[in-house]
């Protein structure tokens, strides 16, 4: 099976996600990019799962989905909380900690 193509796509998605996290300012977009990274891994997992013909990768992928959802939920919660406090929704403007 031409695993290379799946991997190539997966790596590209991962890199897009990673660069998004590093470059973008809006935390919502950053969350999306995080999802992208996780889903890139999911793609790789499922591709490998088919390659090896065992279900481990699929189970892994389902769990990753859940985890991704939890992360997004928490992320959204934090963003909403910040929004409620009228803080700037821009990670570069969150300067109180001199990050």
């Amino acid at each position: 099976m031409a695993i290379g193509w799946y991997l190539a796509v997966s790596v590209i998605i991962f890199c897009i996600g990673l660069s998004g996290v590093l470059v973008r300012r809006n935390p919502l977009v950053i969350l999306l990019c995080l999802e992208l990274m996780l889903n890139a891994a999911n793609l790789a997992l499922i591709a490998f799962s088919r390659m090896h013909g065992n279900g481990d990768g699929q189970i892994f992928a389902i769990i990753v989905m859940v985890v991704a959802a939890c992360e997004v939920t928490v992320g959204l919660g934090l963003i909403v909380a910040i929004y409620r406090r009228k803080l700037p929704i821009d990670v570069d403007e969150l300067k109180a900690l001199n990050g």
């Binding site: 389902i62 859940v66 959802a69 939890c70 997004v72 939920t73 959204l76 909403v80």
Partner: protein, 118 residues
Amino acid sequence: MLRSYLPALVFVLLGAGIGTLFAFANRMLGTKRRVPHKADPYECGLPSEVKHNFKFGISFYLIAMLFILFDLEVVFLFPVALQLASFGTFALIEIGVFITLLAVAFVYVWRRGALSWT
């Protein structure tokens, strides 16, 4: 195999074709009489206040979060449901624990007032 999905692709293409056709039909068939006010967003007849940045209300984020969590319930239940008969009691216990945990979360969310909209 993936070939089973070929008809789905055909359906998607057909749907897209119809959508595109409709979307551009007006451009070709319709009349063209430009009046500036036509391009105003609908405001019940009042002078329009043009705004670009709409933001979702906070309660919608809350719903979104709840949705994510409970939709996952479904994600987990489907595979177990599929093999329920063959797994037998083990899966039953599994589902029981799982749903109990979710029920706890549900009760908590309810009691904390996340499910009440005013």
